[in-house]
């Protein structure tokens, strides 16, 4: 379970960088009321460019801190957890991964076990079972020995989702997972994520500009209203026109 408590999202803007005294001015992008996300929810974060989708994700990922308020996971204050602890609760898939030469799909998925393995990164039997399960669930069993650099964009995206899945974290965040995919692969990835959320009982967040697909596949939409600087919460079934009028 993930909770936003009176969250103010934004960042400090350095003013007067040329003069010697740097003053930090806080710019609030948006605020959120208390929101709770439960396992099994597939949440889309939408909003215009520059409204703060990435900033929200960066805040959840711990790359920056909220201006005020707190994020709680399983009742624990998020920013108090150490890196290892966080890696067991939260996994992340960037919008584009270009592959690494000689890195196989199996090794990539196995990287998700890093928070659990010892210093020598030895995979235990349990780790191998998890990886095997993930490979089967994502239909990657024929790709295990393929070089990540030779995969298609869609296959590589799914392999990265595999890495995140083998992390066995209850929250998965995907930054624009469909941005670089064609029509078929977009549907395939979103369908896959929808099933994962249900079957694995995980909370999945995606950000996207593809509103139609979000409304079709997601169970919940969180929209950033840049004018009112507020986070709006909608559940399925969605009143598409109302949401679009309010947000865009």
């Amino acid at each position: 379970m993930l909770t936003f408590q009176d969250l103010h999202i934004g960042f400090g803007v350095s003013k007067g960088a040329i003069t010697k005294i740097k003053r930090k001015e806080l710019r609030v992008l948006f605020t959120s009321e208390n929101l709770t996300f439960k396992p099994g929810e597939f949440v889309a974060v939408i909003g215009p460019n520059g409204s703060g989708k990435t900033t929200l994700f960066n805040t959840i990922l711990g790359h920056q801190e909220p201006l005020s308020g707190a994020i709680e996971i399983q009742g624990k204050i998020w920013k108090d957890l150490d890196k290892m602890e966080k890696a067991k609760h939260l996994s992340f898939v960037p919008s584009k991964f270009n592959g690494v030469d000689h890195l196989t799909v199996y090794d990539l998925v196995a990287m998700g076990r890093a928070p659990y393995t010892n210093m020598l990164n030895k995979l235990t039997e349990e780790d191998q079972l998890v990886i095997q399960k993930v490979l089967v669930q994502l239909g990657l069993t024929n790709f295990v020995n393929k070089n990540t650099i030779n995969l298609s964009d869609g296959e590589r995206q799914i392999a990265m989702i595999g890495k995140a899945l083998s992390q066995e974290a209850e929250i998965m965040i995907l930054d624009e997972p469909t941005a670089f995919l064609d029509y078929n692969n977009r549907r395939k990835v979103l369908q896959l994520l929808k099933e994962i959320a249900k079957v694995n009982n995980q909370i999945i967040f995606i950000s996207s500009h593809n509103l139609e697909l979000c409304f079709e596949y997601c169970s919940r939409v969180v929209a950033i209203d840049a004018n009112a600087k507020q986070l709006l919460d909608f559940s399925a079934p969605f009143d598409k026109e109302k949401i679009i009028n309010k947000v865009f």
Binding site: K83, S91, P94, Y106, D107, M111, A114, M119, L123
Partner: protein, 332 residues
């Protein structure tokens, strides 16, 4: 996948067998040939009345062991840098780490600051120089995202340090200057038998530190952000990588001079041969491959000795520069 993968161990074994054979051959080479019994006695059971055994003890054994250690250390340093900067062209020489060492060695051998006068002092000076240069490049890498630009900064830093060395040379005592010049050609003869222990120990510390870093090194391949989200403390790991690199580069530079390109060439070759990203295998491969390359260079130098005296640094550059061009054409 298991840590121990028989396929990679076979490759290690082949490299090791090759290395062992060439090392034995290299021990026989020099100004005159020495047979295996004398070599054995010279190393383990030496008798100062025999010229052969004395030669083995004083010249050949230290030379060959230094070749092994310097190749292994520089290659591992290169591998660490390539992973740290996500750049196949990174290496201690190209990024100016060697130049940092050279500068401090120049200061300690030729200037009137005799803080680092002794043998160990020079080792310390070289390591501090390497560490300083490493931190500088690390600092630059935060601001310069372009891979080629970072290399240019490394090269410029090398030129800058080289210019400072020239200034020191201009005012140096002729004897010190000669010592420094010979040192800067790169040589495997500079280590005495009783210094081998120190050299081996320091290299072992550097290698051990690299082995400890294997897991974060593997994860760094996905980029800093992804590694961080898998539980890697990226800042601390970067710092430790620079420490390991400066230990390995510094000690070799102190004893053998700035040896060019080995750290760049060997890891790239190893990646082609081993076809993996797992740093266990890349480390063991670089260790063996690096030792192999310098031993081969030494054999070439010894065989050419009757005709002309080829400095080590010239030989490695002759091999290294074309490889760099090949990588640039292939990957950029």
């Amino acid at each position: 996948m298991n840590v121990i993968n028989s396929n990679y161990w076979k490759k290690n074994l082949v490299l090791f067998a090759l290395l062992l054979g060439l090392v034995l051959y290299d021990l026989t080479l020099g100004s005159f040939l020495i047979g295996f019994p004398d070599i054995f006695n010279g190393v383990f059971n030496y008798d100062s009345s025999s010229t052969e055994e004395l030669t083995v003890r004083i010249f050949r054994f230290p030379r060959v062991v230094t070749a092994i250690l310097s190749g292994a250390a520089l290659s591992i340093a290169g591998l660490l840098m390539q992973t740290l900067f996500q750049n196949p062209l990174a290496g201690p020489y190209v990024l100016g780490i060697n130049s940092g060492s050279s500068l401090l060695v120049a200061i300690s051998t030729m200037s009137s600051f005799y803080i680092f006068g002794s043998d160990l002092g020079i080792v310390a000076a070289a390591m501090i120089g390497a560490f300083g240069a490493g931190l500088f490049i690390l600092f630059c890498s935060v601001y310069v995202k372009n891979k080629i630009s970072l290399l240019l900064i490394g090269i410029m830093f090398g030129s800058f340090a080289g210019a400072l060395v020239s200034v020191i040379q201009a005012y140096a005592d002729p004897n010190n200057l000669k010592t420094f010049m010979l040192w800067s050609f790169g040589s495997l003869q500079g280590v005495a038998f009783n210094q081998l222990g120190i050299l081996a120990l320091v290299v072992a510390i550097g290698v051990f530190l690299s082995v400890v870093l294997v897991k974060p090194l593997n994860l760094l391949l996905l980029g800093d952000k992804s590694a961080s989200l898998l539980g890697v403390n990226v800042k601390a790991i970067r710092f430790l990588i620079i420490v390991a690199t400066s230990i390995l580069t510094g000690v070799i530079t102190a004893f053998c001079g700035p040896i060019a390109f080995v750290g760049l060439v060997v890891p790239n070759m190893v990646k082609v041969i081993y076809k993996t990203t797992n740093h266990y295998h890349l480390l063991s491969g670089s260790l063996l491959g690096g030792a192999l390359l310098i031993v081969v260079c030494d054999i070439a130098m010894q065989l050419l000795l009757p005709y002309f005296n080829l400095p080590l640094n010239a030989l490695t550059a002759l091999i290294g520069a074309p490889v760099v061009m090949w990588i640039i054409m292939k990957k950029f």
